[in-house]
Symmetry: C2
Subunit: 367 residues, 2 copies
């Protein structure tokens, strides 16, 4: 298979190196071309971490998006959710019949938003749109031209939009990531956005110290205090309530964080959201966001709490805490995230009844 | 006149020393008797600050509340608002015909709550209940048995409940504090609670660092960041909107803070809530609260934002930010401040129409 990787950050480097190592033909493109210069110069990517140490050659850096997309079986978009709309507009005329457009991850509502934009842009080709709830890797660029994959995630959900198209692409997708789990629909992937549940309470209750120090403290280890744990817990309960309202069986943040190896057994067994968040060896040395415009707030409100709260509204599940945190974020960043974020209109769900939304995400038809 | 001072903290020491120096006969009582031991031992209080340096003798420390109150012209309650209910219950059988019960300050809703409790306790004596919006001093205990008054405040509002009784006691009160300003009613004093407007945003956006360091940072100077300034500003606008809804002319926090000498001319003229809060020479070296149970949250939610939001509801003024901050405080401290705080029921205003409330605070009669 031929894979097009769109992006030039941590995730994109990991995917290009990992899938290149597996023998796939890789095209990579980033609008920030300097992100990829090192690959051109070195003729490949140095891969380290859980998959061993390799120099992965043969990754083709494309100067133009059209060339990157051309003839790819899978177009994998690995960028902050905030860039989804721009990519969707650029991709609409380029996508080819039969291609899979893979949002890795979709965050919350990514596939819904992208589908809506592709439609507005008059996408002609019949493609399959899929998303995961979170990135398929725990990874960082660890040096000039070096990707370290700490873990290939094993509890990642994915779904096509509509979900009835999932089976047709499952084989290709699980060939790349054998441990992906098929979700009920993109509503399930959207509501399993644990980043938003964890980051927003951490950012809000550390807002002043983030601004004062530009994030110069250990974000998870120092920034997590009992109050932060309580707010994460309450937020997670709202998220789970929405999922239950949709007839889905939610995994708690505690379960999830332990499953993916991000917290200790002791912390998990204590049942304390405070301990589970704070006692995270892989997060221990990660510093705070450099400002309140960081993706831990911007992305996790816009493409996290706003679409979740919108689904809560639609399915008559109260989300007072999500609303509180969105209101405070509006104030702090002088934005209107209700409008700018993925509300029902931006998700392409405006004027649909709850039943119509279910039909839309499952069968692609409203009636 | 004979003055009974109830309390043993910063404000009570300042009032006892100041009014003792002025030649009034002072009784002082605190249920925390050790707070007053130094006065007994030294035979007075050392007063420093803007009124010069004096050793003020003749302050009578009373072991029993009844003895302190007996024959006093004015009973001045100078305690955290959280202790108002207990004092009201104890005072109901002790107050004497013609006495003035002076809440210095009432915070928000203090006089209304105390009146309601005195009524429930079957107070027989006809007394006059008055409150100020803030303490009449900027003061701290600066050492063993030493009160330093940095400033006798000059923009303090006061009112009797009902307001029609204000003229009858004005002379006695302004004899003590000539610069007090007569407010429209206790609704105006209650809505001029600037502490709540400033402290709650500071505490919430510094919540994690308060817990992590037990307040070991300069609360106002370091804790005030642009985001904090924005939240204070938005909160102040809600407070002013409620006052306007009541037909009152509000002073902004900016005006007030500058008037009382708590910020610089430059900061004031910039119009920036961030600068006005941060650039406060008297606050520069004040450390943070030692926990999230501190009065900067407990008192300022319970006897600040809750009664303000309740008045907002009554007069149909939306207070989304007050609601947000109360909701977050509930979560953080595992309380229900809507119930525990001064809601309309605790203020004695339940089941009254907005017009009835106005009659009640102005004339003491509902119909």
């Amino acid at each position: 298979m031929k894979i097009c990787v769109l992006g030039g950050g941590n995730g994109a480097f990991a995917a290009a190196a990992h899938l290149g190592l597996e023998g796939y033909q890789i095209n990579i493109y980033s609008p920030f071309k300097e992100e990829l210069d090192s690959i051109i110069k070195e003729g490949g990517i140095t891969l380290k971490g859980c998959l061993g140490e390799h120099f992965v050659k043969g990754i083709k850096v494309c100067k133009q998006l059209a060339l990157a997309v051309k003839n790819a079986d899978i177009v994998m978009l690995i960028v902050p959710a905030i860039f989804h709309p721009q990519y969707a507009r650029l991709l609409a005329p380029l996508l080819e019949e039969g291609q899979i457009l893979f949002l890795n991850p979709g965050h919350s509502g990514g596939a819904l938003e992208v589908k809506q934009i592709l439609k507005e842009q008059g996408l002609a080709a019949k493609i399959t749109l899929i998303e995961t709830n979170t990135l398929t890797y725990i990874t960082r660029k660890t040096g000039y031209n070096e990707a370290t994959i700490f873990k290939v995630n094993n509890s990642v959900l994915f779904s096509a939009l509509p979900a009835c198209e999932t089976p047709a692409v499952s084989q290709k997708i699980t060939e790349l990531y054998p441990e992906l789990i098929v979700a009920d629909s993109v509503l399930e992937t959207s509501l399993a956005n644990f980043n938003a549940v964890m980051h927003i309470p951490l950012v809000i209750l550390n807002a002043a110290v983030i601004e004062r120090t530009q994030g110069d403290f250990y974000f998870y280890f120092e920034g997590t205090t009992p109050a932060v744990g309580k707010v994460i817990e309450a937020l997670d309960k709202e998220r789970m309530a929405i999922m239950k309202g949709l007839g889905l069986s939610p995994n708690s943040f505690l379960e999830y964080f332990y499953q993916i190896g991000m917290t200790t057994k002791d912390a998990y067994e204590s049942g304390s959201y405070y301990r589970v968040t704070k006692e995270s060896p892989p997060n221990a040395k990660i510093k705070g966001p450099d400002s309140l415009k960081h993706r831990f707030l911007e992305e996790d409100i816009r493409c996290g709490l706003v679409p979740m709260a919108a689904l809560g509204d639609l399915y008559k599940v109260d989300t007072p805490l999500m609303d509180v945190l969105i209101t405070l974020s509006n104030l702090i960043n002088e934005k209107n995230y209700w409008e700018e974020g993925l509300n029902l209109r931006k998700l392409g769900l405006a004027n649909m009844s709850p039943q119509q939304v279910l039909r839309y995400v499952k069968n692609g038809k409203v009636n």
